[in-house]
């Protein structure tokens, strides 16, 4: 069954701010910078933002409610969306409904996190009860340990090689070299990728994201409102999410995208081949491969052919993670779950500056978040259409 359509809803003001390796600033400071960048871009007064959707790992001990004080807002609609790498897709889905229903007029969707030294290690070591009981005691390598197993199982099942993963990573690094806020802008070769030291075999250093601080966000409002502000905007064609898909299925070779794909495309009235630009959650490459398969760009287990045959650079014939993704920009906590969708919004509204995908109109962004035990539980995807 299809859910109600997303007609009349627009996204504007893609923002990526504050990207830095370490910061002792709390998450609130990054929320503030992002909100400021978005209202300036949209030409809105801050008080016109009457909805806030917040995704963060490092806001504690402050609850999300505290953001209304620290950001000086009195919102009619306030929501925590704690889904890590799936945050933006899920924030969009909820914000779009709030705007459609009139519960909010302008919703700021923001993922933001600080990164003090040692912050990532503390977060990863006690991410969930299951991680404390059944993951961290086994080598204490954070999410890299479960993802190393997922990657090995994917390799064994599909025949993908490290060089296949490297093709994606090298293309993303090229894309990052054209993105001002990316922290890793030095292009790399496939040989350099293959020579990187092992961290959690088969994962090596250049398969893994660099934790950092930063924020990403966008505004959700009515389409007629976006038009009246004379802003470049994207329409929401469809958004899907699925949690705990295929529970207990091992090896882990797919996520909820496969269950939701039909809904995603039929609601949008589009096919995978109509998509001009793609963003997939990229911590780590095997997960990115599963997303490309899951939303229909190739058959299950066949992404290795896709990355061999297509050019994934922003100037190529199948642009993927055109800002460099987290592998190029760094992983700013929950902002890592926003970075892809925000970049797709930029691309389909022709605002991607030196890395613009030519004539990009239809974009797909997927999400993957919350490795509570042996895989991420949250999956989602959105299709956005730029109106220009």
């Amino acid at each position: 069954m299809l859910s109600a359509d997303f007609s009349g809803v627009a996204l504007v003001a893609p923002a990526s701010v504050g990207y830095t390796r370490y910061s002792t600033d709390g998450a609130g400071a990054f929320f503030a910078r992002c909100l400021l960048a978005m209202v300036r871009q949209a030409g809105l007064d801050k008080q016109e933002v009457d909805g806030l959707s917040a995704s963060s790992f490092t806001l504690a001990p402050d609850p999300v409610a505290a953001l209304s004080i620290s950001l000086g807002l009195s919102p009619r609609w306030l929501e925590a969306v704690p889904f890590g790498g799936a945050s933006a897709v899920m924030a969009l889905r909820r914000a779009a409904r709030a705007v459609q229903a009139g519960d909010a007029t302008v919703v700021a969707c923001i993922g933001a996190d600080g990164n003090p030294r040692g912050g990532f290690e503390d977060l990863a070591s006690s991410f969930s009860v299951a991680s404390i009981d059944a993951v961290a005691p086994y080598g204490n390598a954070g999410p890299s340990m479960p993802f190393a197993h997922v990657t090995r199982q994917y390799i064994d099942a599909t025949g993908a090689t490290r060089a296949d993963f490297g093709r994606l990573c090298v293309a993303q690094r090229f894309n990052a070299s054209h993105c001002a806020h990316a922290l890793l802008r030095q292009p790399m070769t496939l040989d350099e990728y293959l020579a990187a030291p092992a961290i959690c075999d088969p994962l090596h250093k250049l398969d893994l994201v660099m934790p950092c601080a930063g924020a990403d966000g966008f505004l959700v409002l009515r389409e007629d409102h976006a038009k009246s502000l004379k802003l470049p905007y994207a329409r929401v064609l469809s958004v899907v999410e699925r949690h705990n898909a295929y529970p207990n299925e091992v090896p882990v070779l797919r996520g909820g995208w496969e269950l939701e794909r039909e809904r995603l495309y039929s609601q949008a009235g589009r096919e995978p081949q109509d998509v001009d630009v793609v963003a997939v959650y990229d911590d780590c490459p095997a997960i990115a491969f599963m997303q490309l398969e899951g939303i229909g760009f190739c058959a299950r287990g066949e992404a290795r052919h896709l990355v061999r045959e297509r050019d994934l650079r922003f100037c190529g014939d199948f642009p993927v993670n055109t800002s460099g993704g987290q592998l190029g920009c760094g992983q700013a906590g929950a902002a890592g779950g926003f970075l892809g969708l925000v970049e797709v919004l930029r691309q389909v509204t022709q605002q991607a500056e030196g890395r613009q995908v030519r004539d990009a109109r239809l974009g797909a962004a997927t999400g993957y978040g919350m490795v509570v035990y042996d895989r991420c539980l949250g999956t989602g995807a959105a299709l956005l259409e730029g109106m220009w």
């Binding site: 290690e121 009860v129 009981d133 961290a136 086994y138 080598g139 954070g142 091992v250």
Partner: protein
């Protein structure tokens, strides 16, 4: 690192003392699950118990961890961690003696508060 195991995890380890391994079972519907928790994820009944078993398992994958997040342990040595499918069904992570090939039949034993995978001697 300091482990702060949950009460259910401590129950599972206690039940593992007898034979070396245990798995949570639901007394209402028979579902077997891991990680441990105090109610059944299938039927939500609260009557669950950790039952000891012989720890037979099959290796799904092995990783070699070269770098730990725990900076309080100087000179972290590379550590093998296996992902195994237990005879009871659920998959678990366990320390491993070596890089077991996929499909290897192993035995899981609790040792020094951690599950370990060793070659199964027939």
């Amino acid at each position: 690192m300091v482990t702060r195991y949950s009460e259910s995890m401590r129950d599972l380890m206690e039940a593992s003392q007898a034979t070396g391994f245990a798995m949570f079972h639901c007394c209402s519907c028979g579902h077997r699950f891991y990680p441990p928790q105090s109610f059944c994820p299938a039927c939500l009944a609260p009557d669950v118990e950790a039952r000891s078993s012989n720890g037979d398992a099959t290796v799904l994958s092995t990783t070699l961890i070269h770098r730990s997040l725990d900076r309080s342990v100087p000179g972290h040595r590379p550590t093998y961690v296996a992902c195994v499918e237990t005879a009871e069904g659920p998959s678990i992570f366990a320390m491993a003696d070596l890089a077991f090939a996929v499909g290897s039949r192993v035995r899981i034993r609790l040792r020094d508060g951690l599950f370990h995978a060793s070659e199964r001697t027939l």
